[in-house]
Symmetry: C2
Subunit: 472 residues, 2 copies
């Protein structure tokens, strides 16, 4: 049973840490990007070393005070905001943001958990390398949180998600023990895989304090195209064709619906529209090719081949870096347009690739039976990962539809589950989807998760209420 | 406390299963490839379905009888042979060898755990796809064992190890519960990563009964070269250069020492030697390139560039499939030559890439102080993974040196550990390296492993004595 972090405990904690030991729980620590919940915290601990992180956890564990690990605060499922239950301490890694080493010849970087993704990108680039993980919030997201939530983003198709880009971790356990697993090794079969157990556990099993990350060579040449496709099925065939032609050279393959362009026109009219007369579906293809291949020429040849096969009907191929950025801006600003328009219910889902087209058809039909909505379906088609967001009709506000939110979510998630998909492809469970995990998760998996949680955090201090329901 | 599987228990088990429920423990089930140990078993259970696997485990768990999961029997660390402790039952998945489905457009295959690697290769090829995991024992190794041990092999550099090539698992737990995690999804962030916990746990946490596997497109063109390098450091620079030029196109990058050629000449004289006057070090480079690139030409251009940079002095580039196979045969027959000559001590180690060259120098010097040995150092340089095997001088037999085996092993492993490496890169812990794991493993990691083991298998029936010491 946890108890509130009261003033006495906060003072005790302050005494254990070097200055600046604690910060006040300013509003920025207690909000989340979509404004769904407000969190609470007695204080924000800002330790300066792994030993101080251990000190915080030991003290909280002894006092039965909850600890909410805090990265960049960009998570979309409320993993970073605890609004109910005993008042916790926030544990922010913001002071531990060093990039400790870049081993360019090994393609390895070692970074502290508080390092911001954009700084990691810059450090990799300075060594002529690439850290491929990339998400819209890269200017604020910290690597500890990205690993804790196993973040995905636009380059998963080629390079994998945060899990696939990590070689080793340093983790502090609930009782303050420190596991040093900061390996630079590509291969190490000595015992159980604790690294992957920690990655994606959303701060409920331990606090990541440092990581060794995989870097990649920078592709010699990059190119980007938008192509109009007849249907999601045609988009998948285009992906197959592109892979046949360019192998691993496809870095991103993002599908968008015309609704995304409409939303941009409505909410962000300064963004240049790519087509005069948009069709329903289009894809962004990003390639990074080895020396000796011309990306724009390769994309043109792909387009010609796909046109002959009836898969694409129109297209734009970037001829410059500025044009590449313009195409990417269309894709990257869709979440912001969504935010401004305001969804009734948002879904981060994945499906077996072969079921994506059928899902889009069946999902649209099922929602039409619930009401008149606009669906903005876009996302990482190459991973079977759709952001499937449901909005009110034009001119209406989501506040009128709030009562339908749960029904819409259940309708979408039930269908995803029935088709072998996942109700959280890349955002995680956090506090938002605890009920979904209970509803759709394999029961044996849930039992094992509970067993692992109880073994690693018997007092339940780590991110209470996230992923698994807090013990009463 | 476990007890022997006696005749009464064996009869009981037979009654629970459909025919052929059990096989006699013939010698082939009780041997391991290097002839180090003999195993014991009261019977070999050969269940025909996941439910029957669950029946076996439930019965053994209730009776406190140990179960040794058995794949193809090709493991090199004794994970499949229990020579001490109460007599166990062997659980062979050999009847569950179906390839259930190939989803070619998704690049996914679903296979039962008993499927043999070569059959998986053939099924992928029939769908114009590639299952990249490849090891010398592919004709016998079964996918359940390959996942249980997180097998590596020659294509890890490009495609990752068994772990990286798996999307989902079906696993039976010690008490007979079945976890159905047979996902075809590329992205799924719903809860803790049990898949990776099971992969590489060597049958000590559960029994894998089926898996969904990642396939890859087949490269449009493949090529292979042998190049003579001045030193291991030059080999690493050559790898960097090759990656700069060909990106992900490098499928394998294997380094060998002249000792390997000498051993082939001595033990397998029919194998054609690639060089008239061999130098000390050479590398096998295998590439698979996208359409539009000529692999042989790309390798020739790489050679020319490397020659100009002083990295290579001689080379052979295959001009035909037969020549490719000839080059690969040199690499693939080295383990067989080693086996015939007979090592005093063999080591499957990995190092941070930047430490490989220094390790080879320091390892050779340290061993020279222990005696006059021949060292055959070869392996997956692109992964920092060396097979570092120590042999008697020419004309002497290893039986004369057996007393030095432990000292040699400790000398090598201590150095590896001091340099941040791993004492089991790809073969696992099994029963051979339990002591090494205790000696070199992070103590907190070992505590967590024990906690996970006790939680998942409280009676310790699963592969007792492998990875972790059996409870007394």
């Amino acid at each position: 049973m946890l108890r509130d972090a009261d003033q006495g405990f906060v003072d005790h904690l302050r005494g254990l840490l070097s200055e600046p030991a604690l910060r006040a729980p300013e509003p920025r620590y207690l909000e989340e990007p979509r404004g769904r919940w407000a969190g609470r915290a007695a204080a924000v601990a800002v330790p300066g070393s792994v030993e101080e992180v251990a000190t915080v956890l030991r003290a909280c564990n002894a006092a039965r005070v909850g600890v909410v690990p805090y990265g960049g605060g960009t998570g979309l499922v409320g993993g970073q905001v605890a609004g109910v239950g005993p008042v916790p301490v926030l544990l922010s890694l913001e002071r531990m943001r060093a990039i400790r080493a870049v081993h360019a010849e090994e393609n390895v970087m070692e970074a502290e958990a508080g390092a911001i993704l954009q700084d990691i990108h810059a450090a990799a680039e300075a060594a002529d390398r690439l850290y491929p993980l990339s998400i819209a919030s890269k200017g604020s997201a910290r690597i500890g949180g990205l690993l804790g939530t196993n973040a995905g983003g636009v380059n998963v198709l080629r390079y994998g998600n945060a899990r696939d880009l990590c070689l080793g971790l340093e983790v502090v356990l609930a009782d303050g023990r420190i596991w040093n697993g900061l390996s630079r090794l590509r291969k190490d079969n000595t015992g159980y895989d604790l690294r992957n157990l920690m990655i994606g556990s959303e701060g409920t099993l331990g606090v990541i304090t440092a990581a060794s990350l995989k870097l990649a060579p920078r592709p010699a040449g990059e190119g980007t195209a938008l192509m109009v496709v007849e249907s999601p099925a045609a988009a998948l065939s285009l992906l197959s064709l592109a892979r046949d032609r360019m192998g691993e050279g496809i870095s991103a393959f993002e599908m968008m619906h015309r609704t995304g362009l409409d939303f941009l026109a409505e909410a962000l009219p300064d963004i240049r529209q790519p087509f005069d007369t948009p069709s329903d579906w289009f894809v962004l293809i990003d390639v990074g090719l080895a020396a000796g291949l011309d990306p724009a020429a390769a994309l043109e040849a792909l387009f010609a081949d796909a046109f002959d096969k009836g898969l694409v009907s129109d297209g734009v191929i970037a001829q410059s870096g500025a044009q590449r950025r313009g195409i990417w801006e269309v894709r990257e600003q869709i979440p912001e347009a969504n935010r401004r328009i305001g969804s009734i219910s948002s879904h981060d889902i994945s499906l077996p690739m072969g079921e994506v087209a059928a899902f889009i058809e069946r999902g649209g039909a099922a929602l039409a039976r619930l009401g008149d909505f606009r669906i903005n379906c876009f996302g990482h088609l190459g991973d079977g990962n759709l952001h499937y967001n449901v909005f009110p009709p034009k001119g209406r506000d989501r506040s009128e539809f709030r009562h339908l939110g749960d029904g819409i979510k259940t309708c979408v998630h039930d269908l995803v589950d029935a088709m072998g998909g996942s109700v959280s492809a890349e955002h995680g469970i956090g506090r938002l989807k605890v009920g979904d995990l209970e509803r759709y998760g394999d029961p044996v998996k849930l039992e094992l998760m509970r067993g692992i949680k109880d073994m690693l955090d018997p007092n339940g201090i780590l991110n209470p209420g996230a992923v698994l329901r807090a013990r009463g």
